[in-house]
Symmetry: C2
Subunit: 220 residues, 2 copies
């Protein structure tokens, strides 16, 4: 056991990092809140950002909780410079762990701000928020990715792809029919990622949205 | 009671019809299945239509059931030439009833095929299928309209608007942040309806979809 751990250590060069995707819980809300704010900054949509830690906690982690992927679900992406010890999430969602080999060490100036509640030396680097959708044509559930985000320091290293594959793998395993997401048309990196993963940009579909005072006008 | 009923009858000219929107249940599945097929024909997407009555029933009406609007929800639109007697849906969703004054009587060649399980002389004329979605920016639930449809004989009479207003009213009443839908960009009548209702076509957003064998490739 100790000799195989030593062998693992040897393969883990200075420029390696361990990535883990696990189910989020209430303890992750402060990090999720900061990540959503960064996403709003990235999308130039901070004027729409009104979430608070309390409102996220109430809506994403209600009690009693619903099974993951059958209601609103957040997966967080964590990074550590040493291998993760097991944690107890497996019954609901078995964490996905990969070693990422880096060409050079990554400077993460936000590592302390995004410290994980799951242990020393672990930083949260991204997240995905998804929930079930439904196709009447297929009579099948699917998963809709509402938000997917990797912090700036860690982009272009396959971590977004790892988050997306985690959702796609879950959908496929549950016998679902689709994974959908909605991208900004100027976000060519995101569109390229989806296309590389086998997704197509759906032609001819536009989103209509009723919100704010226009929606309030419909109170019965 | 009988005199007020007579007065109502008097106002109800030959060219009037009563419209009711109520929560669907398993007994409505055959009609919902036929309506979804007609929607696929209208959208020129019959090659995507693979729903069966059994698969719709299992996915839309699982047991135990979840509260309406917090999971997949179907409302059906029914028409009758005489006023509806009350039915017992009110605890979950109070049916919405309107008298529609028509300029001339409407010929509905499909009335028998779409007979409602809720009583003689009632035909199902349309439906809406919606489910909750979520905005991380708002930390609020919303409703997503997956399908909305009125049979050809009954279009252009405000019934689609009535279905949409039922969903918007419910979302507003539940304190939700948005009602979203996805329209085909050539369906100018649908886009005009949404805009008339106060919705905007969201700029710059495109849908990416992973489905079929490309999705199956992600089974873990």
């Amino acid at each position: 056991m100790s000799s195989s751990a030593a062998a693992t250590q040897e393969k883990t060069a200075a420029a390696s990092v361990w990535a883990r995707i696990r189910l989020a819980d209430r303890r992750d809300v402060p990090n999720i809140h900061r990540l959503i704010r960064q996403l709003a900054e990235f999308e130039l949509l901070t004027h729409l950002f009104s979430a608070t830690e309390a409102s996220l906690s109430d809506t994403l982690f209600p009690s009693p909780s619903l099974p993951p992927f059958l209601s609103f679900t957040v997966l967080v992406l964590e990074l550590s410079h040493s291998p993760f010890s097991e944690d107890g999430d497996a019954p609901l969602f078995a964490p996905i762990v990969r070693r990422i080999d880096l060409e050079s060490a990554v400077e993460d100036p936000e590592a302390a701000e995004f410290a994980s509640p799951r242990g020393e030396g672990i930083a949260v680097a991204g997240f995905v928020l998804c929930f079930p959708n439904y196709s009447g044509y297929l009579a099948k559930l699917g998963l809709y990715i509402e938000d997917i985000f990797v912090r700036a320091a860690w982009r272009r290293r396959g971590l977004g792809r790892m988050l997306l594959a985690a959702v796609a793998g879950q959908a496929a395993q549950m016998g679902m029919g689709r994974v959908d997401s909605c991208v900004l048309d100027w976000n060519v990196n995101a569109i390229k990622l989806y296309e590389d993963m086998g997704a197509e940009v759906v032609p001819m579909r536009r989103i209509c949205r009723l919100t704010g005072p226009a929606l309030q006008a419909y109170v019965l």
